[in-house]
Amino acid sequence: MNAILSVVYLVATITFIVGLKMLGHPATAKKGNYVAASGMGLAILGTLLLHDLEVPTMIYILIGLAILVGGAIGALMAIKVKMTKMPELVSLFNGFGGASAALIGLVAFSRQLGDATQATTVISGIVIGALTFSGSIIAWGKLDGTFKSVINIPKRNLINNILLTSIVVFAGFMVISGQQEPMYIYLLLGASLLYGVLFVLPIGGADMPVVISLLNSLTGIAAAITGLLYDNMVMLVGGILVGSAGIILTVAMCRAMNRTLLAVIFGAFGGGETVEGEDRAVGNITKTNAGDAAILMNYATNVIIVPGYGLAVAQAQHVIHELEELLTQRGVQVKYAIHPVAGRMPGHMNVLLAESNVDYDLLVEMEDINPQFPQTDVVLVVGANDVVNPAAHNDPASPIYGMPILDVENAKHIIVNKRSMNPGYAGIENELFYNAKTAMLFGDAKAALTELVAELKNL
């Protein structure tokens, strides 16, 4: 192989590592994306220009065409897609990567296979590539709404596992027996495609991101296998990197959703269990965590904190002040919106916040702050409930109807911290929590805010 190309691949590999690393921190993520992308460009250009092969111009033209077409499609889709549709696009792209790997495997198979090692790589490349492809396409379709319903195949776990076992056994047989019959490989291909479909189809939409991440990790492995096949280091190392990082990411996502990866892989995914029945009554709630809330607030221009009785119960006044100071240091404009009846006695919030030395100038009365919500990036509601309940405007039957409230729903993002979905003093449901803009940060206010402050410091 060409020595310069080797160096180019080496450099590309390093950019992958560094790029991935940078992608893991909010402050460097954008740059990381560029770094990784430029490494990829380098690898592709190097492959094209630095080989020692004799290649007919026709093939160059074909390659050029393929790159043009592919590049145009990719770029267009990426630019056109709506913000909310991005995850499914990622899934689609991932499927393409898998398909590419499977196709390469097929071509390799069509040539004579060498030793068992090579057979293993080629066949596993095809299997993994194919199931990644079909699985990703299904995931894309489900998220996109093309395949709507959660299809409940009876005994799907059993069927899936049997299918998977058959594929593995059959592939093993092919390797050991040295079978090169095209029929067989197409059979295997078909089975793999089918497995991908069956694997993803029964899974609920909410779990899709985990599935996509898992499939993504598999594509990485497929790429690594292809690298093995061509003795190509950039594919090998790059693929493994994606594979291992992808698994870790999948686990992290599972953890963020309070599931285990085992449960995910072995079919505990699924229809019935994903959504807690109760919440459904009014709508879906979105949960968030301290890390996300911290990032949202860190990158906001202005934040309004709405304290309520829960802040007093949790005795979180000192932490909220710390949070406010920290955000202010970061250049975020922070105010407190004080509802006249927040808490359990007149001036409850004032006593509380005075104790932690919050500047009086930051406390804004309801009438003054209400017009400011539409221009507010993030509202953080801490242990308040009735005082931000839109039922006061909307629901004449509600006991608080007619009471002026803090119109937090006009803000761009709303983070609500409380311990549970329990109602407040007035004992009524709060629609705000089901608002699409609202993310619930569950937990005792003191603990949750302490975590939030810690996350913020790590940014």
Binding site: F16, G19, L20, L23, G24, H25, A27, A29, K30, N33, A36, I44, L62, I63, A66, G70, G71, G74, M77, A78, V81, M86, P87, L89, F93, N94, F96, G97, A99, S100, L103, I104, V107, S110, T117, P209, I212, N216, S217, A222, A223, T226, G227, Y230, N232, L236, G238, I240, L241, V242, A245, G246, L249, A256, G291, D292, A294, I295, G331, L459
Partner: protein
């Protein structure tokens, strides 16, 4: 058995590379904030498009009259490039939100 031993001995370097790369992958990703899960997934997806290098090799190595290889290779390149270009572009868009407004 012997086959496996051979496999190990012949590919010892690769095995080391594999294991070290896994360590690097894991170390590099650990402790990322949840909000970066999706962009990171997207970025990793773009990286997995490195398989396009393989597709290019297929085409570069193909005989001009090996139509199967050329055809499949062509599709593979197209798909791989979509994955790479689209992947990085989408990741870039997702990361727009981390621009500090001021």
């Amino acid at each position: 058995m012997n086959q496996w031993i051979d496999l190990i001995i012949n590919n010892l370097d690769l095995i080391y590379i594999l294991i070290l790369a896994i360590f690097v992958g894991v170390e590099v990703i650990k402790h990322i904030p949840t909000i970066l899960h999706t962009p990171l997934m997207s970025g990793a997806n773009a990286l997995s498009g490195v398989v396009v290098v393989g597709a290019l090799l297929v085409m570069l190595n193909a005989d001009p009259d090996d139509y199967l290889a050329l055809c499949l290779g062509f599709i593979a390149v197209v798909l791989g490039i979509v994955n790479v270009v689209g992947g990085f572009a989408v990741t870039g868009r997702m990361l727009q939100m981390f621009k500090k407004k001021d």
